[in-house]
């Protein structure tokens, strides 16, 4: 009795499976299905847009603050050596890129205004990751000293996408060297440009 019930249930499952399956034919072999009918085709044209997108995650919230805790300051020691945050590795760079006519792209980095004397910011790719993306990283792992001149952060890459959010794309390290405790000018930005 149990065997009979099992067989009925199994048959029902098989039937449900076939009912839900999408119906297909081998259109390359008309002899396999043609009783009456015909076939034809038309030609479609596809034109896709170029895509050049990059951002820094977490977004919003990718502003970095390098400060000094006054209680950590000690006479005779440099300000940044007194325990103030001088390294940040929390920022991830994402991109989505589709090139026209198979053109490759790069990611450049530069500052929107000059830095004060004796204040240096270095940007460095320290890791790459791919969570849900499809891309060839090809990063420049060397530290880059931020300036108003464009510098290559990611070398030539083909169309692709890094995946969105923290933990995918390029992990960046910001290092600040600010022995005299200078402040950045108002509106100072480090700009990443995919081109």
């Amino acid at each position: 009795m149990k065997n009979k019930q099992f067989i009925i249930v199994a048959l029902s499952i098989v039937q449900v499976f076939f009912c839900n399956a999408q119906e297909t034919i081998n259109a390359n072999d008309p002899n396999s299905f043609i009783f009456g009918g015909d076939s034809d085709f038309n030609t479609a044209t596809l034109e896709l847009q170029e895509i050049l997108l990059t951002d820094l995650e977490p977004d919003p919230g990718n502003t970095i603050s390098f400060g000094v805790n006054p209680s950590d300051m000690e006479a005779g020691k440099p300000v940044t050596g007194a325990g103030g945050t001088s390294v940040n590795e929390d920022i991830w760079l994402n991109f989505t890129y589709r090139g026209i006519n198979y053109r490759n792209a790069r990611i450049l980095v530069y500052a929107n205004q000059p830095l004060p004397a004796d204040l240096e910011i270095k940007i460095q790719v320290i890791a790459t990751a791919n969570t849900g993306g499809n891309y060839n990283p090809n990063p420049n792992y060397n530290p880059i000293v931020a300036s108003t001149s464009e510098q290559v952060l990611v070398y030539d890459f083909a169309s692709g996408y890094t995946g969105d959010g923290e933990g995918t794309g390029y992990q960046l390290r910001y290092t600040i060297d600010n022995p005299n405790g200078a402040s950045l000018p108002t509106g100072f930005e480090i700009i990443y440009e995919i081109r």
């Binding site: 999408q22 119906e23 297909t24 034919i25 081998n26 259109a27 390359n28 008309p30 299905f33 043609i34 009783f35 009456g36 009918g37 015909d38 076939s39 034809d40 085709f41 038309n42 030609t43 479609a44 044209t45 596809l46 034109e47 896709l48 847009q49 170029e50 895509i51 997108l53 990059t54 951002d55 995650e57 994402n94 991109f95 989505t96 890129y97 589709r98 090139g99 026209i100 006519n101 198979y102 993306g133 499809n134 169309s159 692709g160 996408y161 890094t162 995946g163 969105d164 959010g165 995918t168 794309g169």
Partner: protein
């Protein structure tokens, strides 16, 4: 009343003949769809793939028609027109679609709407039968008004819709979902349509 009875007998006679052979017909495909992505159609979030957005063609980017061919009348001579054949020979037609040579990451979807297109001819004695063996001469999309992914493989051509009796001017709309990895070049692809007739 007598007229209806005669039509019924003719239909039944033709149906029984039809079991031996479905009459040949011709599929006409018109329209050259042009899928042009606009800036608004592209992904807005860096890192995400462009296929999360997608864009649609006009609702009638392609229009297809299927009618039975005219036939010659043996012994008597003369020709039975396409309209006459379609009026007296009612079959079920299933439309399968596939593409070829599309790049990886490009998804082409298609759909039409319930009862789109036009019955050919507009009226038939079959429409007045008290019992219509194949149901009314309607068009039924496979998945309601939802899009169906068209495989890039003729060996797996997929059913998109079916209709009973000849039908003309059936509009087909497309939706394109292209990965960022699909090259940004102007490219052409063939979209194939296969109509299969059946008696049931």
């Amino acid at each position: 009343m007598k007229k209806a009875l005669i039509y019924s007998l003719v239909i039944l006679f033709n149906t029984s003949i039809g079991y031996a052979q479905i009459l040949p017909g011709t599929l006409d495909v018109s329209g050259m769809p042009s899928f042009v992505q606009s800036i608004e159609d592209t992904v807005k979030e860096a890192g995400a793939d462009d296929n999360t957005v997608g864009f649609e063609s006009d609702f009638d980017a392609t229009v297809i028609s299927y009618v039975l061919d005219p036939t010659s009348i043996p012994l008597i001579g003369g020709v039975t027109s396409s309209e006459q054949n379609c009026s007296l020979n009612i079959f079920r037609y299933t439309v399968y679609m596939h593409t070829d040579y599309t790049p990886p990451g490009l998804l082409i979807e298609a759909k039409t709407t319930f009862n789109s297109g036009v019955r050919f001819p507009l009226s038939s004695p079959y429409d007045n039968l008290p019992v219509q063996p194949l149901g009314p001469r309607d068009l039924t999309p496979t998945s309601g008004s939802s899009y169906i992914a068209i495989p890039n493989n003729g060996g797996q051509a997929i059913k998109v819709f079916e209709f009973v009796g000849c039908r003309t001017d059936i509009p087909i709309q497309f939706r394109i979902k292209a990965s960022a990895t699909v090259p940004g070049v102007i490219a052409t692809y063939n979209i194939h349509y296969t109509v299969v007739g059946s008696l049931l």
